[in-house]
């Protein structure tokens, strides 16, 4: 059986990739994809810790992750809808140019 550390490393890698994507991409859709990646890294952590946790019989981890995925799906839908309406407004999805909230 693969040790827990491997899962955690994969999860950390996944999170880092997602974070890097969210930070460096200029396109809002790609930033959203990066965020989804980070979420999935967290989900992977949940599953791993559940599986290697003290009570793997109870389906707590699965239930948590399913909720998390549901929330992520809803979040993606809302995020995409926002991006579309932003695009309609600004005619761009470049995040560098969307700075009307500047102080």
């Amino acid at each position: 059986m693969t040790p827990l550390t491997c899962y955690l490393l994969v999860s950390a890698l996944l999170f880092s990739i997602g974070l890097a994507g969210a930070l460096t991409r200029r396109n809002a859709i790609l930033v959203l994809i990066g965020i989804e990646l980070m979420l999935n890294a967290a989900n992977l952590n949940f599953i791993a810790f559940w599986r290697y946790g003290p009570n793997p019989q109870a389906l707590t981890g699965i239930a948590f992750v399913i909720f998390s995925i549901g929330a992520a799906a809803a979040e993606a839908a809302v995020g995409l809808a926002l991006i579309i309406s932003i695009y309609r407004h600004y005619r761009t999805t470049n995040l560098n140019r969307i700075d009307s909230m500047r102080g």
Partner: protein, 763 residues
């Protein structure tokens, strides 16, 4: 208590109401104001007579001879514990009743006379307003049962005197005389105030009669007489002397007599009413009122109290002093003024030597015949078109027969012509009292003053009524000695008298005649050449009597002569109320029933004195006749007979013993010097202090401003600026770039994780 005692307050109130209403009337409502004044006086006279009758009814019953009504004026503090209650009140006793009748009757006659005398004055209503106010205050003074109330009325009387002397206020000499009168009497009043405070602190009451507790009643007097002050003088003497100082001021005794002759600047009815008959007698009345205080002696001590000795001597000296001055005066009213001072001296002499009845009897008779003389003088002045210099009169006997007859009666009464006239009997009483006094001095002074009285009155009558007519028939014919000064007609005319008002003032006037005219007339004097140009409307204003435009001497109208006749009748009849044979008046005042004893007239002592005083009077009359009547003065500029005989003495008398000049050189100069010192102190010391303080305040304010501007303000400003800068700095964080926020979050997360890891390591 009788109704008249309860309603006694109405007597002064009626003229007061008349004065108050007159004060609100318009200038042209002459009839109404005269009606009010005379009507109120008639009512006051009626009430006074009722009061007098009431007193006579109670005569002999010693219990009801003095009836007083007292009331609370105001209270301070709790009366049960330590509060003081100030009480006023009025009293009806023979003294008050006699004065009430005298004041209201003389007042009424003079009011009526004023109708004629002031007929052409444009300020007629103001005149009657003041006269009514005066009558009110004088009547209030007479009935006052409290020294405080008496003093209040006393001061109102002084005020009206001031107002009426300065009635023709556009005449500089009148305003100066008014001020002089007010200030001079004020010196005496200050002493009265001190005496009043002293009396209150000693006895705790200012009521004269208060059912045994008043300050003139036995218990208070007994304690006052035995206490002595630091000088070894009884307290009662000290208080009495202080109060007498007020009487000196008001009654024109030496040395405060200087205001009374100058007071003749006022209209003649005022001179008659206030400065001859009633107000100046207020001082004598005051002494009579507080006589028990002055006469208070410890039980068993029979010597004459110090206060009465002072009163006697001051009176005697005043009598001779003023009578001698009157000999050399040429102004008809001034002669009478000095005669008034002299007679007031007689009254004081009588009070001091003989008691209340003696002094008061002369006061009453004098009030009538002196009012008569003044009104007669007013009639003469009126008839001669406002001429007051006796050298310019003469020969009026035929031209003004009624005036001459009544004036003659007044003159004989004043001189004390034997048997028939009131002045003889009252003066007789005084001399009789002085004869028996402890020192012989006052008696001889009095006799000599009586001689001089007869002499100067004869001189005056000879000048005015006998001889040839020396008045100016035509005004143009008269060329004034000093241009512009000499004869600006009434009442501006007599400006050249050597010392009207204070000397300096008249000196200034003499130097600047032009300055005088302009404010006085407020009209251009067109011609300054020989022909007199009197503005026509002025003539109408001042020309008194019906003969405007005619320069003939004329008899006065009926409204003026009738009061003269009434007064003349009283001048004769009153004397018989107080003869030694039937001392009715004296009995009334002392509360004893008088009995007629014709035999008393022929007692050797009385007879000798009567013969002596008759001799003195005849000597005076004869001397006057011999010097002035035998060969009447024919020319205006002819020197006086006495002036030819004794030029130095005459000059001394003519200048009134230089009293005004002495005051000028001492008191007035000191006062002016002191005023200058005060002004200097004001300018430099006090002003400097004030300036210093203001500078200090300005300096402080400047400091305060500096602190505000540079510390408080700049602190706030700097703080705000920094806050803005800080805000701007912080607002940079809100860059609006989502990824930058995320980057920060990532960074923070990394740091957090690293910290956690490091923390786990450490533990």
């Amino acid at each position: 208590m009788d109704w008249i005692v309860q309603t006694l307050w109405l007597i002064p109130l009626l003229p007061l109401v008349a004065a108050a209403v007159s004060a609100l009337l318009k200038q042209h409502q002459r009839r109404l104001s005269a009606f009010l004044a005379i009507g109120s006086m008639v009512l006051a006279l009626a009430l006074s007579c009722a009061a007098f009758i009431n007193v006579i009814e109670h005569w002999g019953h010693s219990s009801a001879v003095r009836q007083a009504v007292n009331f609370f004026w105001f209270q301070a503090g709790d009366p049960q514990v330590n509060g003081t209650a100030l009480r006023l009140g009025w009293v009806l006793d023979p003294l008050a009743a006699v004065m009430l009748v005298m004041v209201s009757m003389v007042g009424l006659l003079i009011f009526i006379y004023s109708l004629g005398y002031m007929a052409h004055d444009e300020n007629f209503t103001r005149f009657f307003c003041f006269l009514s106010l005066f009558a009110s205050a004088m009547l209030g003074l007479v009935i006052a049962n409290s020294l405080l109330l008496l003093f209040i009325c006393w001061e109102i009387v002084g005020l009206t005197s001031y107002l009426l002397i300065g009635f023709w206020y556009h005449k500089p000499s009148a305003t100066a005389a008014a001020k002089k009168a007010f200030i001079t009497t004020r010196i005496g009043d200050l002493a009265v105030l001190l005496g009043m405070v002293w009396l209150y602190s000693e006895t705790g009451t200012l009521l004269f009669y208060d059912g045994g507790k008043g300050c003139l009643e036995h218990s208070a007097l007994a304690t006052l007489a035995v206490q002595t002050t630091s000088l070894g003088m009884a307290v009662s003497t000290g208080i009495g002397l202080l109060i007498f100082c007020g009487a000196i001021g008001k009654s024109g005794q030496v040395p405060l007599h200087v205001w009374l002759p100058d007071a003749m600047e006022g209209p003649t009815p005022v001179s008659a009413l206030i400065h001859a008959a009633t107000m100046v007698a207020a001082g004598v009345f005051l002494v009579a009122r507080v006589y028990p205080l002055m006469a208070a002696q410890p039980a068993g001590d029979a010597s004459v109290p110090g206060a009465l000795q002072v009163v006697t001597w001051v009176g005697a000296i005043t009598a001779i002093f003023a009578a001698s001055i009157a000999v050399a005066q040429t102004d008809i009213k001034r002669i009478l003024a000095y005669s008034t001072i002299s007679q007031l001296g007689f009254m004081m002499l009588g009070l001091g030597a003989g008691g209340v009845a003696v002094g008061m009897f002369h006061l009453i008779t004098h009030a009538f015949f002196k009012a008569l003389l003044f009104l007669g003088a007013g009639s003469v002045i009126h008839g001669c078109r406002d001429e007051q210099d006796i050298r310019r009169m003469g020969g009026l006997r035929k031209l003004m027969p009624v005036t001459f007859a009544t004036y003659g009666v007044g003159m004989l009464a004043l001189s004390g012509f034997p048997l028939l006239f009131s002045g003889f009997w009252s003066k007789e009483e005084i001399l009789h009292a002085a004869r028996g006094w402890i020192a012989p001095g006052p008696f001889y002074l009095g006799v000599f003053a009586a001689l001089l009285t007869a002499f100067y009155m004869t001189r005056q009558v000879c000048y005015v009524f006998l001889g040839s007519v020396r008045s100016r028939r035509r005004e143009g014919a008269y060329v004034a000695g000093a241009p512009g000064l000499g004869k600006l007609e009434p009442p501006y005319g007599r400006v050249a008298q050597p010392s009207h008002g204070w000397g300096a003032h008249s000196a200034a006037r003499r130097e600047q005649p032009e300055m005088l005219e302009k404010p006085a007339f407020a009209q251009p004097l067109t011609a300054r050449s020989g022909v007199r140009a009197l503005p026509s409307n002025l003539q109408e204003t001042w020309a008194t009597g019906p003969h405007v435009g005619s320069y003939e001497v004329h008899e006065s109208p009926r409204v003026m002569t009738i009061p003269l006749v009434v007064l003349a009748a009283f001048s004769v009849l009153l004397g018989f109320g107080g003869t030694p044979a039937w001392p009715w008046f004296q009995g009334l005042l002392s509360g004893e029933q008088a009995t007629g004893q014709l035999g008393k007239l022929f007692e050797i002592e009385v007879l000798r004195l009567m013969l002596l005083s008759s001799g003195v009077v005849f000597l005076g009359l004869g001397l006057g006749w011999w010097l002035y009547g035998r060969k009447p003065v024919s020319r205006v500029d002819e020197p006086d007979v006495l002036e030819r005989l004794q030029p130095e003495v005459f000059a001394l008398l003519k200048r009134k013993y230089f009293v005004d000049e002495i005051y000028e050189a001492s008191v007035i100069r000191f006062n002016a010097w002191w005023a200058q010192v005060c002004a200097w102190l004001d300018d430099w010391v006090w002003n400097g202090l004030v300036q210093l303080i203001s500078l200090l305040v300005v300096g402080l304010a400047w400091l305060d401003r500096y602190f505000d501007e540079y510390v408080v303000n700049s602190g706030f400003d700097e703080g705000c600026r920094r806050l803005t800068k800080g805000g701007a700095l912080m607002s940079r964080l809100q860059c609006g770039q989502v990824q930058r926020y995320l980057r920060l979050l990532g960074l923070a997360l990394t740091v957090l994780v690293l910290l956690l890891i490091w923390g786990c390591r450490a533990s």
